[in-house]
């Protein structure tokens, strides 16, 4: 399967710092998505970047995609305690996507 792998698996930062999470994948993709999951809840879609895009912004989120390296990064700027969650990248085919194992982010107030 085209499972993405997030790195690091866990990250702990102080409030106000930036958080960077990475995702690597093995096969070519049409697009890549990032999701957030708060503890005990379902996943929430954050951002989708197409294979012909290199960078995309949404509020405090910045996503980059390097198809030559088969990798993507998610940057959260000026982190807040409410950003504490697990973050997943997802890649895949026409109708279904495959999720990675996720990065657990803790933002310390």
């Amino acid at each position: 399967s085209q499972q993405g792998e997030e790195d690091p698996q866990a990250l702990s930062i102080q409030e106000g710092e930036n958080a960077t999470m990475n995702c690597s994948y093995k096969t070519s993709i049409n697009n890549l998505q990032w999701y957030r999951q708060n503890s005990g809840r379902g996943l929430v879609h954050l951002i989708l970047i197409r294979s012909n895009e290199r960078e995309k912004h949404s509020g405090r989120l910045r996503v980059t995609l390097d198809t030559s390296k088969k990798s993507s990064s998610l940057l959260i700027t000026a982190s807040r305690a409410a950003d504490t969650a697990s973050y997943f990248c997802a890649t895949g085919g026409y109708q279904k996507v495959t999720f990675g194992i996720g990065t657990k982010l803790q933002v310390i107030p």
């Binding site: 499972q3 026409y94 996507v97």
Partner: protein, 113 residues
């Protein structure tokens, strides 16, 4: 906003029981999905459906079946529950098209005793 509702947040069943997990979405989405989520393994796709009465196996369909009689409802069935099916189950839906964002329910934490 899209709402995906799973019938139970927590469920406890016994080994050998037939278990039904229900999921309803209110946005007329064509695609619906069932995942299980386990620590260290991430989300794994059990089954998905791209239309009423249509179903496709995901990565781990063994021990499960699904039913989609109406567009808004997608049911996951554990034919004979076993302890290794203790997990968090997540339902999602998406509109038709290439890699559309998925909208998730809050999950059902199922324990099989």
């Amino acid at each position: 906003d899209v709402k995906v509702t799973q019938s139970s947040r927590y469920l406890v069943k016994r080994t050998g029981e037939k278990v039904f997990l229900e999921c309803v979405q209110d946005m007329d989405h064509e695609n619906m999905f069932w995942y299980r989520q386990d620590p260290g393994l991430g989300l794994r796709l059990i089954y998905f459906s791209y239309d009423v009465k249509m179903k496709e196996k995901g990565d781990i369909p063994e021990g499960y079946s699904v039913s989609r009689e109406k567009k808004e409802r997608f049911s996951l069935i554990l034919e004979s529950a076993s302890t290794n099916q203790t997990s968090m189950y997540l339902c999602a839906s998406s509109s038709d098209g290439l890699n559309q964002p998925q909208h998730f329910g809050d999950g059902t934490r199922l324990s099989i005793l």
